[in-house]
């Protein structure tokens, strides 16, 4: 079963993504801040991380930076899912090694699921 880690500080969004990914037969792990995200990523070994940027404690960008420099998570797929829509943010995310960058409210739930499947299908 494919394992996905949802990193999102908003409880409602966490619930929505969990429900949807569960319905798609994913095993879902959740984290509500950067610290939790890092420990879950190392402990749970997810195949895919859906990462928010603006979160308490450690920001999504920093989490991504740490993930990419940690041997266990270096190759884990990451989709950034943020409210930040500026091209500079998108660029920064891609530079740090995100596999995709989605802007909240401009992508539907189905888009997220489709993107997740697409990224996971890549070698």
């Amino acid at each position: 079963m494919t394992k996905v880690l949802l990193v999102e500080d908003d409880i409602a969004l966490r619930e929505i993504y969990s429900a949807r990914f569960s319905a798609e037969n994913f095993e879902v792990l959740t984290a509500s801040d950067g610290e939790e995200a890092l420990s879950q990523a190392i402990k749970g070994k997810p195949d895919l991380i859906i990462l928010d940027i603006m979160m308490p404690k450690i920001s999504g960008f920093d989490v991504l930076d740490i993930l990419r420099s940690t041997p266990e998570t270096k190759n884990t797929k990451v989709i950034i899912m943020s409210a930040l829509s500026q091209s500079s943010d998108v660029e920064r995310g891609k530079k740090l090694g995100a596999d995709a960058y989605l802007v909240k409210s401009q992508t539907t739930l189905s888009d997220v699921v489709d993107k997740a499947k697409e990224i996971l299908a890549k070698p």
């Binding site: 409602a12 429900a19 603006m54 409210a83 091209s87 409210s105």
Partner: protein, 564 residues
Amino acid sequence: MCIELISLGDLIDRDKLANFSKYFSYIILAINVLIIIGFLGALVFTKNPLVSNDVVRIATGVSVLGIFVFFISFKVNKKEPKSNFLIQSAFVLVYFFIILELTGAVDSIFMPAIYLFLILSAFYSFLISSVVLTIAVSYFIYSDMYLKDQTIQEFMSLNGSSLAAIITVTILSILLGMKYRKNWLDKEKLEKYTKNISADKSKDEAIFSNIGDGIYAVNEKRELILFNPQAEKITGWQAKDTIGLPCKKIMNLKNDQSISICEKDCPVLQVWNTGKNITRDDLCYPGKGKKTIQLEGTYAPIKDMSDKVTGAICVFRDVTKKKEVERMRSEFVSTASHELRTPITAISGYIELVMNHDVCKVDDKASEYLGKAFNTAHAMSELIKNLLVVTKIEDGKLEYTITNFSLKDLTQEVIEVFSKKAKEKNIDLNFNPSANLAIKGKTVARSLDVRADQEQIREVLNNLVENALKFTDNGGVSVSIDYDEDFAKVCVADTGVGIPAEGQKHLFEKFYQVDNSETRAVGGTGLGLYITRSIIESFGGQIWVESTEGKGSRFFFTVPRALG
């Protein structure tokens, strides 16, 4: 020659002359009155044979005339002080000759005073002195030769020396008078000129001192030559401490990246090079011990009569507060938009979950309503996105990455994205990339790439195609591209509801929406076409619409072609 005809009366300041001739008139009036009283008194109290003299009677007559003339000429004194002065002078002359007549004519002891009259009149003007000379000579001839029945020889032997003296004095006086008047004229001109200059100077100074903007000017060595009070207030420097110093010592401006502009980016050098004014709003002044002040300044070259650059002037103002307000406004809009995104995502997410058959079971009616709720949430997120873009456009902060790209490929991608939606609505959506390669009959081998920001143009195409699909229920939407020498022209045509003529005029304005049942049914933010226009115009293109109500619309826009 003209100098000879100019009288002192023309040269003296009109007000001064009017003032003088006013008092002069009063004196002559007093004399006139005294003569009449004196004559009447003499008539009553003395048996002096002089009183019965014709000359005294004439004098009385002249006095009465003088009083009349006083009232007339006094009225015009303000307007014609010169005429009043001359008329009153004529009375003085007449009285002089009456006194001469009463005191023994040519042998009178007052006779030498005639030289005084000649000299004064010669200094006044050439014409007046000629008149006085003629009267004097005529009087001589009349009183000595005519009344005494002398021959010319007798007259000349008796009065020749006096006449010669009179004429010599007159000629000398005329020559001196001419020179005097010329000097006077030069002095007057000079005075007037200096007065004008100082008036201009004080006018400029008044403007420079009282204008609300700071002003400084530099000479060709970039040394400060002007520093107005407002500039003192903004910078904290005193004008007297700055004049003559190199500009960069005082106005050591930096750009918004805190890099000094004085060495490589000096606006003064730029205006000298280009000859054109420059306005910059990215200037920062480090301030004299105070915090940095943000400035907006306009630079202009100063040129001399021969168009040679002799300096530059800068008009600047403190925009720290304005920039702060702008920053706060865009920060507010940006924060508010971001904060709104999360709850909207949650709303759409929950609705999507409910509508997903794998997660929930709802009946058809509930599904229909949820669909509408979902669309509304989507529209709201579009509005937020557009508000952010509009804020950026208005702050001039929309960032562009200009590249050369294929408009055909981009359009193809956009069409593919919308094809699903078109199919759902059962509308034809086709793309006709029939590139018009033959320009003016010649086949052009040039690349068909355009030069702009690809993502922004994608946004434009998205907007136009989405609008076309939104307002079309039957028929189709077709996109085509044409090329001319400089531009690629894209046409998005639909067979939708069309736009009334009045609406077409305002279509590209902010928050404008054609008001009819159709538009209300499909909704929208009224920002899409405003953003579209702003994007197109920022690349030097144009956007316009042709439409017939009920038949459809054709939106056109142009994008500049890549060179080479």
